[in-house]
Symmetry: C2
Subunit: 260 residues, 2 copies
């Protein structure tokens, strides 16, 4: 799928020809986290995202019953063009499915949220190592002692991802990522895990344990698992998400997430 | 009221001791546009604001029935602490009132939107003239040929305000205001009214006609009248706003609207 356009990739996914994680597909284009829920929760969730922009950057929203994200994919179909979906009922994972045609009704509102994939290429391009990519592992993630601002039925702690960065490059990494307002932006914390209530970096809450080399310090960014925790805590009767790593590939170029 | 705190000023307004426009009160603190509407329209309106951040920067939201804006005034009362309110029914102005105790129910959601007052002081502090302040007039405003991104029942053209700026200072004015993301941000257009469909700058749609001096060019910023036009077009059965110039004074310092 190396040379395929975004539309061709999404069409291949729809035809069932791609059932693997989307990492590496359509380089340069934003991959988005997806949350789909009944309209009665949509205001609370949009407000939760607005009050917690760093962990929950809204890239696009499909109004109820709309299947094509107006900005992220005006020709796309949110019901069929993600390789794997998760269905949660009352906060509990019920099943993973390959399309959601029978679950998606006119009552469902879809949210696309930015993801740190979008800034990692620019870190690499600037000579800043991204360890979990080097090691082909998942990024280490931690639940912090910081509470999100609640909104309606949604509340919960902020979750962060961590990248070990050579101390001399941490400022540069902060400056580069700060531009990506719709992809978690600048780090939440640099160098002091305890300030976030993290006592042992080897004990991750999600993802794989890190490898921190001499001269490197831990740098923490707000993470897209944050809204997932808020959703599980709120327990709506139905929530559909992408399966972790199986993202929605948008028409949006990563640079476009550096909105002023 | 020169030395009064924000809380004292809001309390004086509540007691009926201040029924004039709020311009000049509580220097350094953000004054916000206010829109209050039934919960069933709240998602559409929040989405409209999110899709049109420059004209509609959301500073705070009170969930349904909440009278104290959690960020902008946790001790305030949105029902009584604005000197003059407007009540619209089906898009038509019905009356102006001094409090909205009997109109505000548990079903009403309140939105506070940023305003260009917040960046004008920094323009002045940097030696950039702000003509309508000099002349003690209202800022000139124009309906443009740019459509906002619609959301649910809300749609409409973008409205802009215009400030004539000496040509050599226009870049500086752009850079200063660009920081104020929650107060309309960078200009929409510099120097070319026709690009916005404005053929005669003396024919304003709102506010007072401008005085443009030799060597000055017109600089256009997105304007908070934009959401008002969308509200009037959508015609919800009830909308409450502040009366123009009679703003809600927040606990937020203007610099805080320069959120990254």
């Amino acid at each position: 799928m190396g040379d395929s356009s975004v539309e061709e990739i999404r069409a291949a996914i729809e035809r069932g020809e791609w059932r693997k994680p989307t990492s590496g597909l359509a380089p340069g284009f934003t991959q988005a986290n997806v949350v789909i829920l009944p309209k009665k929760y949509a205001f609370d969730f949009l407000l939760f995202c607005g009050r917690n922009e760093k962990p929950c950057p809204v890239v696009d929203v499909c109004e109820s019953g709309v299947i094509a994200p107006p900005i992220a994919g005006p020709e796309a179909d949110i019901r069929t063009q993600i390789p794997r979906y998760r269905i949660y009922r009352h906060g509990v994972l019920e099943q993973e499915v390959e399309h959601i045609r029978e679950h998606f009704t006119d009552d469902m509102v879809s949210f696309l949220l930015g993801c740190s994939f979008s800034f990692e290429q620019e870190l690499l391009d600037n000579g800043i190592p991204v360890r979990h990519i080097e090691l082909e592992r998942n990024v280490p993630m931690y639940i912090t002692n910081r509470e999100c601002r609640p909104a309606g039925i949604f509340s919960g702690p902020m979750v962060v991802s961590m990248r070990p960065i050579p101390e001399a490059l941490a400022g540069k990494a902060a400056a580069i990522t700060a531009k990506y307002r719709k992809a978690h932006g600048a780090p939440i914390q640099i160098g002091n895990p305890e300030a976030l209530g993290i006592t042992d970096l080897q004990k991750v809450d999600f993802g794989d344990a890190p490898e921190i080399r001499p001269g490197e310090i831990p740098v923490f960014w707000a993470c897209g698992v944050t809204p997932q925790m808020a959703l599980q805590r709120a327990r709506p009767e139905l929530v559909i998400t992408h399966a972790p790593g199986y993202m929605f590939i948008t028409d949006i170029r990563n640079e476009e997430l550096t909105v002023p």
